[in-house]
Symmetry: C2
Subunit: 310 residues, 2 copies
């Protein structure tokens, strides 16, 4: 069985790019001619919104797939268009796979055991209907929320063992109030350190044989660099998924401590900074027609920038 | 604007039933003749699974709608059938509304601000496409995860202010490892007490004018009764959404402290205990044909049991 952590790290090495692009399309990011065309084809409504995203995503994926190893679609941006949005989420995952991209589903799911099992099947596994198994959304990795403790995580790792897939547990998020609970001192340790211990413990059984990394990684925001450095040391075998670069304010120099000495260990995400790059061009009208090339240019610049930090 | 908290509490008073039923259908809960028929109509695949649930739900809702005030569909059970499952989730919410039921979407979403905004729109609000607004899933309440702090919650309360809808923040969950992080001592307070403080603070601006309750409630599991009693006192104006009764092990006597002196303040949920009641009958073959009546009988018994505790 191929482990997705190996496929992801191979792709990072081959493309020399420890990054992923957040496919988090708000309707306001999408050039208006694409939205108008989708409304003309699908009628005004949620389907038109969802299919505008689909058109936008396809062109972004085509323009980016040979220079980046992975994408991280944020499911909320699809869910906001109802089930049509979820159809486009599924189509996006499949299209990324066709183009050789690793897909990290940013779903932040987490619930009691039996419910987490359903989420794990939905995003990383399969369900049995009649005599066959079907994989609903079929991402390679998913992000999960730790608030419910071990038994909310176990169903995900169980599915990872069966499928070779992986998870990233939210340890320290990039948002301003990420500190509110996560940084609390809890009987001698910060809460995020306890969640980091969970990552280590859970990840032991899911180690790659090729790389010193586990299929259980951690989300660690780029916006708290000292914490990132400390967490890097606490979780030596965890791949860090690092949001917060670019639009959220962090720069490459903040990221030096997120990498291990092997130059691996972190996958830095940018969403708006890449998929919305066209809006920052001087000639916005020209850029709207060439949004995918603008995204490619921004991704290339990001890769050079991040590589300067490792 | 009608506040959904008033509609929910009115319905609890009128039906004398502080309960909700978890519409959390696993395929294994559904009598096999319904699954077979769905496969015959839809072909083997995710659509057949989703539509088996839809058929099952409709009959449960028909049998329950005059005796219960609310349902709590667990979205994971729908998500596991991909976008067809999400279509059935939406259909279920709309059908419940037609039948006069309040719908609590058990979605446990939560993310950084801009992403939580998309989730809030998806489940409680609307999105603008062209010149009109569309409400994707349109529940009345949604459960949310607090791990990302205030700025992950604010987009939900903002939508609640616009729509009259509400949320339940996860404070203390019912699962065995719910204690792992939630019970940690954090600088003089348990973590769940700090989340309870967040519920109080966030709920102040969203008070009902008719009842002493806020549109911001709290999820407090039935399986830790001492904690439930303590949290009841810390959050006097929060409606408690209480999972864990029945199949998860808690009984009515455990729930006395979850209610306020007005006999209100808690909505106790049961899922498997109601929707799977038919499987506990002696004549399982007969019960499979009459699963909805079995659910009604179980719900009536649950209501009497819970009422003995308040």
């Amino acid at each position: 069985m191929n482990m997705k952590i190996d496929i992801l790290l191979d792709a990072i090495e081959k493309k020399d790019a420890p990054v992923c692009v957040g496919l988090d399309p708000m309707l306001s990011y999408i050039p208006s001619h694409i939205v108008r065309q989708s409304v003309a084809e699908n009628g005004e409504g949620l389907k038109a919104g969802a299919y505008a995203i689909w058109e936008y995503n396809k062109r972004l994926i085509d323009a980016l797939c040979d220079i980046i190893p992975a994408v991280k679609p944020q499911v909320a941006m699809y869910e906001q268009f109802g089930y049509y949005g979820m159809e486009v989420f599924e189509k996006t995952v499949r299209y990324c796979h066709e183009k050789g991209l690793v897909v990290i589903g940013d779903v932040k799911r987490g619930d009691i055991g039996s419910t987490s099992e359903a989420y794990a099947r939905a995003h990383l596994g399969s369900v049995k209907i009649g005599n066959s198994f079907y994989s609903p959304f079929d991402e390679d990795f998913a992000t999960v929320n730790p608030y419910l403790g071990d038994d909310g995580i176990e169903p995900f790792t169980k599915v990872c063992k069966e499928t070779g897939k992986g998870i990233f547990i939210l340890v320290k998020t990039s948002n301003p109030s990420g500190s509110q609970f996560q940084d609390l001192n809890t009987e001698g340790k910060k809460l995020y350190e306890r969640v980091a211990d969970m990552v280590n413990k859970t990840g032991k059984d899911l180690m790659s044989v090729k790389y010193p990394y586990s299929s259980v990684g951690a989300v660690v925001g780029a916006t708290y660099p000292e914490v990132g450095g400390a967490l890097r040391k606490i979780m030596p075998n965890a791949l860090l998924l690092v949001p917060g670069y670019g639009a959220q304010g962090a720069s490459a120099k903040d990221l030096r401590e997120y990498f291990n000495r092997d130059g691996l260990g972190a996958v830095v995400n940018s969403s708006r900074g890449i998929i919305c790059a066209w809006k920052k061009e001087d000639d916005v009208e020209y850029a709207a027609d060439n949004f995918a090339e603008c995204a490619r240019k921004a991704a290339s610049a990001m890769i050079s920038d991040i590589n300067s930090a490792r």
